[in-house]
């Protein structure tokens, strides 16, 4: 074993230029594979984060439109026991009109228990000016709405909330938020849930119970578990996947195409190794013959060439990972989004890198099996006879 490894190493060392070329070939392949793989993962994570990262991934509503969920606190306690669920909170939602100078603007009013909902919406990070409402007569509006209607902090605005009360009620703008989505910023008005009870809504009801999950792509399975846990036919459970079939198929398509590119790159690397090692067996024809004449057996001969594949694969893959990661770091550094941050935030997943290293090494070793077997089968007398 040790001798086979040493001979393999010497063979590679002796043909330095050829060895360097093969290693570069593997490294370039692995660089492309790592670059594309991590970039696609980063892109997907960015898309998922910007689309559903700061919103509810599973929602529970009354099965009958327009009806509330009663005893929501008990239901929330039940939901919290389901594995993989986090940031469970309740919301009150109503269509409303914002009256300014005799004109009414249609808005969507949401009543939160802000501390509870902060886990999903990150209000503390998204208030661009002012504060989260602390009083019952306070509310916050989105950046776009404030710009459109020229509203400022501390301004008083009137709201008509027909499901609760038809007379306009006056509130003070305590803050302006930016949820990173222009349409939400323009249509949502947020206040404490207590404020809605104050103006006439009966207590202990919720329009929706919202939550996030640890594994966003398992939201459908977790939603099933939530439904089982609640065990109430009057309530309907929705998950983001069933509501975003197009996004999901786009993400799946992206995953598959990225995977295919990676597979083809690795396949071409493996074929290259197999063909180069086949040539290498021919080059080492004499050496193999004489080693066999000296009594090296077929297994050790096989190992000499298998180890060459292993050394080439491991070195090339390690170099490829270093190059791939360097390329991604440069990409993050130089390709910026309009906000100044990296266009795509890359997650340098160690498992992905270890997997790339392992796959490239194993496929290089597998690629060397055919030439290794050829070497093992070589008849020493042919070498002796032919000189």
């Amino acid at each position: 074993m040790k001798l086979a490894l040493e001979i393999a190493w010497r063979f590679l060392k002796f043909s330095r230029k050829q060895t360097a070329l093969i290693i570069m070939g593997i490294a370039v392949g692995v660089t492309v594979q790592v670059f594309i793989g991590l970039l696609m993962q980063g892109l997907q994570a960015n898309i998922v984060q910007s689309t559903i990262g700061n919103s509810a991934q599973i929602t529970v509503k009354n099965a009958e439109t327009g009806k509330y969920i009663t005893q929501y606190k008990d239901i929330i306690e039940k939901i919290k026991t389901v594995d993989g669920v986090k940031n469970v909170s309740h919301v009150l939602e109503f269509p409303a009109f914002l009256r300014i100078d005799e004109s009414d603007y249609s808005v969507f009013l949401r009543g939160f228990e802000f501390n509870e909902s902060n886990g999903i919406y990150r209000f503390d990070e998204r208030i661009s000016s002012g504060n989260i409402p602390s009083e019952k007569n306070e509310l916050i509006i989105g950046k776009e709405l404030a710009e459109k209607l020229n509203l400022n902090l501390e301004d008083q605005i009137s709201l008509i909330i027909p499901p609760i009360v038809f007379l306009p009620r006056t509130f003070t703008i305590s803050g302006i938020f930016d949820l990173g989505n222009a349409s939400l910023n323009e249509s949502w008005i947020l206040m404490k849930d207590d404020s809605l009870v104050e103006i006439g809504l009966k207590g202990n009801v919720a329009s929706t119970i919202e939550m996030q999950v640890d594994e966003v792509f398992s939201a459908d399975k977790i939603a099933d578990n939530v439904k089982k846990e609640i065990n109430d036919d009057s309530l309907a459970v929705f998950d983001w996947k069933s509501k975003n079939a197009e996004l999901l198929s786009a993400l799946n398509g992206q995953t598959i195409s990225s995977l295919l590119i990676q597979i083809f790159v690795l396949a071409s690397v493996s074929i290259t190794i197999a063909s180069i090692l086949a040539v290498s067996v021919m080059n080492k024809y004499k050496q193999v013959g004489i080693l066999k004449a000296m009594g090296i057996d077929n297994t050790k001969t096989f190992l000499i060439f298998l180890f060459q594949g292993l050394i080439l694969g491991l070195t090339g893959a390690a170099l490829g990972i270093i190059l791939g990661v360097s390329l991604l770091i440069s990409f993050e550094l130089f390709v910026k989004s309009p906000s100044g941050g990296p266009l795509i935030a890359i997650n340098y997943d160690p498992m992905f890198l270890i997997l790339s290293l392992s796959i490239a090494t194993v496929s290089s070793s597998l690629a060397s099996i055919i030439p290794s077997r050829k070497a093992a089968k070589l008849d020493p007398v042919e070498v002796i006879k032919n000189g």
């Binding site: 001798l3 001979i7 063979f11 080693l291 004449a293 009594g295 007398v381």
Partner: protein
Amino acid sequence: MDNVVKTNSLEKIYGTTIKTHALRGINLEIKKGTFNAIIGQSGSGKSTLLNMIGALDKPTRGYIEIDGERTDKMNSRQLSKLRNRKIGFIFQFHYLLPEFSSIENILIPHRIAFSKANKDIVRFANELLDEVNLLNEKDKNITKLSGGQQQRIAIVRALLNKPSIILADEPTGNLDSENTEIIYKLMRNFNKKYGITFIIVTHDRNVAQMTDRIIEIKDGVINMDLLKTA
């Protein structure tokens, strides 16, 4: 004296459509510790015989015994072990590994058997290198040595595992007369000193005449078997 090699009605036929009868029933016994020459013209079958004795080639009919063991009953692994432990080879072209230094080349047969070279074997290798006057060249890459030096290294390599028999196929065929003489004397010396049997295939009658026994192969049969008396 025991036989180290015995061949029984050895035949070798090459080809399937056009058959070439290289050996036609060779019966030969080689005594332990002797110094033998096999001579014959090109194509007479002498190298074929040597390759079969060395378990590199298989006979079409008949069989060979090395130290009393039939090689036709052995599997590939046993044949490899036999070549490694009991047989040493010296070829016309030295067939050293250019990837290794002189001493490393010499130690390879031992390392094939035991993986690691212990101190005793390294000391023995150094002694042998000293005997062939190449101790100073031991760490040099093999490609840096002359043809005569390379062949001396090949002789030391063949000798290292103290095999029962050393098979040499035209060992001086590629060398000038001065180096031929050196190589011959070395082989003779090792034959006497370590009691190793030598079978040397040569077309050089001068070399052959310096051996104890001359076996001439002609058209695949033994044409002459001349044993010198002391």
